[in-house]
Subunit: 352 residues, 2 copies
């Protein structure tokens, strides 16, 4: 590969002139510009990205960071990422997906600064070390989801109001007359599951319905959403037949619930109402019955996060911002009023 010196020599000018022709930071006469570009074309030259980044102290790359070792993007992550990418291409940023295990990053030869101008952190958990790390390294950060504990006031983040989401989903079912509501929540420690769980409890409390800890279950991180939804709902519907409604973390999980219900001869929505936190508007309407849910607008979350981060990288400003993206309840047909006689059936009068 040709270097800037080669071009300078060929064009008969100095390095800095070549540099300025490309960066356009200082004016160079039309004449000289032409000569330099001709030389560059002839040598098939393009400025070295790393050398430039080193000198500029900026990479125009932002990072997307998932916690944990085994990274597996979900449908929701896909929405987020599309939003992020969209915003990136608008501002000339590239996106680096960082999925290297800590064990690797801590080996001496691999210790280094991050090759990004800033990071978007996904799926914050309660004891999330990622934020403190980045603050220490003085790296701009935006979190998608609520940052844990103190960090809520220390870093910018974009989130849905998940306490409200939990409340709304629960309230919606309560109004339909359900009072034994199973909540299949996201995995424990994620702040999103904490928030939604809180909303769930608050709604119950407000309605005077006692909270039953058995009915709030966190996803097993080692299972797929759909198989978790299937097996846990089957088990719980067996064990506690008075459950008349289920809130699920995702549409895939809801699908598992559908399958369990169908196998058990439980009709949705007649015998069981299902509501999901779901961003999908292609598959959800085609569920049988169509799946009611709370739409989270993942793409918008991603876009706003990227926007915040890019602002922060560019302006070197450090105002901590919080953006809440409003959600939308989409009623489709998987929820119905609690059947009056369901209680009686549980009472033992099955054949009446």
């Amino acid at each position: 590969m040709a270097t800037i010196d080669d071009v300078a020599r060929t064009a008969g000018v100095s390095k800095s002139t070549v540099s300025n022709v490309f960066s356009q930071k200082r004016p160079i006469s039309k004449e000289v510009t032409e000569r330099v570009l001709a030389a560059a074309r002839k040598l098939n030259y393009r400025p070295n990205y790393w050398a430039r980044s080193l000198a500029n102290r900026t990479t125009r790359i932002i990072g997307l960071n998932m916690p944990g070792e085994r990274v597996k993007f979900s449908l929701f992550h896909l929405s987020l990422m599309n939003g992020v990418l969209n915003e990136c291409s608008l501002h000339g940023y590239r996106l680096l997906v960082n999925s290297l295990p800590k064990s690797y990053l801590n080996e001496l030869p691999h210790v280094s600064s991050e090759p990004v101008d800033g990071d978007i952190l996904l799926d914050p958990v309660e004891k999330d070390t990622r934020i403190a790390e980045r603050i220490r390294k003085n790296l701009p950060v935006v979190v998608i989801g609520r940052p844990p504990g103190d960090f809520e006031s220390k870093v910018s983040y974009v989130d849905n109001d998940n306490v409200a989401n939990g409340e709304n989903a629960t309230q919606y079912l309560l109004r339909l007359g359900h009072n034994r509501i199973l909540f299949l929540n996201a995995s424990r420690y994620k702040t999103v599951s904490i928030d939604r769980g809180l909303g769930y409890r608050r709604s119950l409390e407000a309605a005077g319905v006692p909270f039953d800890p058995q009915l709030l279950i966190h996803k097993d991180p080692d299972m797929t959403s759909s198989s978790f939804g299937y097996s846990i709902s089957k088990e719980m519907l067996m064990k506690l037949p008075d459950i008349t409604a289920i809130i699920t973390d995702t549409d895939k999980m809801a699908l598992g619930v559908y399958r369990a219900a169908s196998e058990m001869g439980i009709a949705i929505p007649d015998d069981l109402s299902v509501i999901a936190f779901s961003d999908d508007s292609v598959f959800a309407p085609e569920f049988n019955p169509p799946l009611t849910g709370i739409k989270l607008f993942g793409e918008q979350l991603g876009r706003e996060a990227a926007k915040l981060l890019i602002d922060q990288c560019a302006a070197k400003q450090h105002s901590v911002k919080r953006i809440l993206i409003s959600t939308e309840m989409v009623e489709r047909g998987s929820c119905a009023a609690a059947s009056q006689n369901k209680g009686k059936i549980q009472g033992g009068m099955k054949n009446e």
Copy 2:
């Protein structure tokens, strides 16, 4: 941020010693190593990624490249990416998603080399300029999908045998007695759609069924898969009621077909067979009826592509390799034998 010079000064050693403590390329005495690490810890030092990349001429980053301006990852891309990421984290590579529009990259101030060691190219199209560009820049490349024209023998790639896939899907339907088969193919110019289209025609030919160009339609890139599947299948089923089977490019597209059929009172699979090229094993089985398809194993495609590329980056070898991932026909219930009287119905005896 502290630099290597700061650490050297603090530890009372030379830069090169500090460098070697971190890179471990030359042995440094235990004693000195301790002193250097202590200084580094004290100063919160970590080697600068870009300075290192510049000196090493390697970034340990590979790129994932989508064609076109408006990048939007699909479900299938998600599978690919998960596979790629998996392999990356195994070998200490990061993944850069490059979605910058050409218009941006061609502006003088943004012209530069790529910040990656190599690129994985997605969705190759017939006149794909990306490959030649990278060969000119001497950048390792692996394509997912068949590279167009001459490049097939010039760059490594990972693909399914899409001619065979097209043949198999078609043959499967032919054997069931269908001979008016609508193929809703991927968008024109993609090599994958060309290959599948070829397989489709070959199977027809082999069975002595005349090829009707009306029955081979390419997706409109500006529509979503599902709405394209819906509108085009509705239109075609109206216009050519003798169609008894449809092959779709994706499961989402199949969903559109399902919706159209249901609105038109056409029963699947009794009146219409549907088969899709689909990687999904969560939603597809839950279609009503469950969707028969050819599974492409996107994650494996991604993994193998990453493996090839990383090999190529590391070894500087230039042997061109081709890997074909075998696919699997999954029969689920959306296809049935062509009903005997369907032809008669078309003949006008609707009420018989």
